[in-house]
């Protein structure tokens, strides 16, 4: 038990050390384009003082390299920094949102230049550079320190065991030759000297090195996870979006979702208009004509008039059915009557497969959220019955952490991908208007789990009026 705990502790420390080194390395790598650019530039500047004619080709190559680096540097820098962000998210538990302004999609050189200009105009790019500099000038030491300490400690223990020093029974005797260590460190003073060259301190030094080395390793292993967290915080401070950038992103998001909402609202109105025009309205016109004809035949041929009346009755029933479907598509009656859980339950009952519904809400969500949630679930369920070849579907509804949460799970063959299906994309866009999100997990072979969340507050439950 105690052993396993010690192993876990050592493992955690070692893992943190390794992750730290990897992070520091990626950070240094991100600085490479800028560093190379500076090098080339300095070469050019130095060269400027020399004779240009003799150094012509070299000069040209340097210029080409500088131009290439300038053009691609920001892109690489951004990729590597994004990689750092992802690694930090995975290893340090700090979620850093991408701070960049959206870029236009680039085809062709001209647009690429425009893109580059936008990139350079983005303050986040320059903050990345600051982070690169901070990392290179010492930030990475924060995560490297425990690793160095462990190497030192191990080295000390190894020097004791490997007999790299002179035999212990000859302390104080001047060394005839240099000890056969691979690299003989220069004589040092204090603790470092004791650790690396314990034989210089006699038997006492030789035996003091064991607890000292072990202590160094322990401290380093203990400190490594904390230092990694500290490094993560430091990085988050520089790599995350500033308040200003956050607001800018928010405004951007709102502008996009607003125009989406307006677009889909307009499209919805057009659909309703078309449905009414081609459906109920047309049927009522036909019904009027049929009744007219029946009226004219009433005297001369009551039999024919009766047939026409039956036809008119049928047309009115069809018009009613169409209006009913239309109303259901605009605002489902159960949703208006009872709220979201019952409306979703009603949806489940209309599916052509087994459906299990569970959960409830302690109050009612705002009407637009209810409607968005309902139509999202309706679309998800339609997808399930159309594409998933499922036997059963489970629907769960709840309100946790200030958000409405609906999970639709099916036992179908999976493979649903929001990136490919335009339906799921549209769904995501419509949910985005409410800051809602859709997460779909659908491995090939199933099951598919679609989770949608819309942040909202619930009103207190309505008391029955009866």
């Amino acid at each position: 038990m105690r052993w396993s705990r010690a192993v876990g502790w050592i493992g955690r420390g070692a893992a943190a050390g390794a992750k730290g080194v990897a992070l520091g390395a990626v950070g240094l790598l991100a600085g490479l384009p800028l560093f190379s650019f500076a090098m080339v530039l300095s070469m050019l500047l130095h060269d400027g003082t020399a004779d240009r004619t003799t150094h012509g080709p070299y000069h040209t190559w340097a210029l080409v390299a500088a131009a290439l680096l300038a053009a691609t540097g920001p892109v690489w820098q951004r990729r590597l920094t994004d990689w750092t962000r992802r690694l930090l998210g995975r290893w340090c538990g700090v979620r850093i949102r991408s701070p960049y302004r959206p870029l236009p999609v680039a085809h062709g050189t001209e647009q690429r230049m425009l893109r580059l200009g936008r990139m350079l105009a983005d303050p986040a790019t320059w903050r990345d550079l600051v982070w690169t500099a901070v990392n290179a000038c010492g930030g990475f030491l924060l995560v490297l320190a425990p690793v160095i300490a462990v190497i030192y400690g191990l080295g000390a223990l190894a020097s004791l065991h490997g007999g790299s020093g002179p035999p212990p029974e000859l302390p104080g005797v001047p060394l005839p030759t240099l000890p056969p260590v691979p690299v003989q460190p220069a004589p040092q003073a204090g603790l470092a000297a004791l650790l690396t060259q314990p034989w210089r301190h006699g038997a006492l030094g030789l035996w003091a090195v064991v607890p000292l080395g072990l202590a160094l390793i322990s401290v380093a292993l203990l400190a490594a996870p904390r230092l990694l967290t500290g490094y993560g915080r430091l990085a988050a401070a520089l790599l995350g979006p500033t308040r200003e950038a956050q607001l800018a992103q928010r405004v951007e998001h709102l502008a996009i979702t607003r125009s989406d909402t307006i677009d889909s609202g307009a499209a919805e109105l057009r659909r309703i208009e078309r449905d009414l025009h081609d459906g109920a309205q047309a049927r009522l016109v036909a019904m009027g004509m049929t009744l007219n004809a029946a009226e004219q035949l009433f005297e001369s041929s009551p039999q024919a008039a009766r047939a026409l009346l039956a036809e008119a009755k049928q047309a009115s029933a069809k018009a009613l059915a169409e209006l009913r479907d239309l109303v259901r598509g605009i605002h489902p009656p159960v949703l208006a009557d009872r709220g979201l859980p019952d409306a979703v339950h009603a949806l489940a009952l209309d599916l052509p497969l087994r459906a299990q519904f569970s959960g409830e809400l302690p109050g009612r969500a705002p009407a637009p959220v209810e409607s968005a949630g309902y139509f999202a679930v309706s679309e998800l369920l339609a997808n399930v019955s159309k594409h998933a070849r499922a036997q059963q579907v489970w629907i769960e509804i709840g309100h946790t952490g200030g958000a409405l949460r609906i999970v639709v799970t099916d036992d179908g063959h999976g493979g649903a991908d929001p990136a490919r299906g335009t339906g799921l994309r549209g769904l995501e866009r419509r949910l985005a208007a409410f800051d809602g999100v859709l997460a779909v997990s659908s491995p090939l072979g199933g099951p598919t789990i679609a989770t949608l969340e819309i942040p909202c507050a619930l009103s207190s439950p309505k008391t029955s009026s009866s």
Binding site: A317, R324, V327, V334, D337, A346, D350, P352, Q391, S465
Partner: protein, 214 residues
């Protein structure tokens, strides 16, 4: 037969009153809201209640809730619920008690007065009257059910009509077959669905509905 109607659209309420009276029934009270309905039930003790789902003051499922409440206070009170739309959820709630005397129809069905009056009579007599659309959707929901899928097209027709609440005689008339043929189909359906056969029309209907609503 004494009827109470709860319907807020005057035109429809008058039309219903006129139609029922033409068929020899008495409309003892026509009310507009849920609370009024409950009061009328207590005072008049009608033989059957005809209720619109959507009623004032809330204009939600006020009528349905009032009808369920009325059945709680006077168990077995026959109720026919009318609506502009039908929902399986509401049908389930109405049938949840497991006893008869329940109807749930689209308002469109009023257009066929003979059928409609027949449905009112059936409900008043403790029978069932489910809208064909409710049954159609119920069968769609059960399309993954092997037992239901194994029925022949004719048996499915018989099952639908039976689930709507019709007696064997009425099913025979509708499908233009003999009553004995219907009885044969019914027996086969009950065997396939693993249900206990019964000679009572009403009990058969309820068993089928309970099965489909599982």
């Amino acid at each position: 037969m004494r009827v109470v109607i709860a319907e807020d659209l005057v035109l429809l309420r008058d039309g219903l009153t006129w139609m029922l009276q033409a068929h020899g029934m008495t409309v003892v009270r026509g009310v507009e809201t849920g609370p009024e309905l409950l009061a009328a039930v207590a005072e008049e003790q009608p033989d059957v209640l005809i209720v619109d789902v959507r009623l004032p003051p809330t204009f939600t499922d006020e009528g349905l809730r009032a009808a369920l409440e009325a059945r709680r206070t006077s168990p077995g009170l026959p109720v026919l619920v009318l609506s502009q739309y039908v929902e399986q959820l509401y049908a389930r709630e109405l049938l949840a008690g497991g006893s008869g005397g329940i109807g749930y129809l689209l308002k469109d069905r009023v257009l066929d007065s003979t059928e409609f009056v027949e449905a009112v009579r059936r409900v008043a007599g403790g029978g069932t009257a489910m809208d064909p659309e409710v049954i159609a959707r119920l069968l769609t929901h059960n399309s993954g059910n092997g037992a239901v899928a194994s029925l022949s097209p004719r048996e499915r027709e018989v099952l639908s009509l039976m689930a709507e609440g019709r007696s064997n005689a009425a099913v025979a008339q509708q499908l233009v077959i003999t009553e004995r043929a219907v009885a044969k189909h019914t027996a086969s359906i009950f065997t396939r669905l693993g249900l206990q056969p019964s000679d009572d029309d009403n009990r058969r209907v309820l068993a089928v509905l309970a099965y489909l609503n599982r």
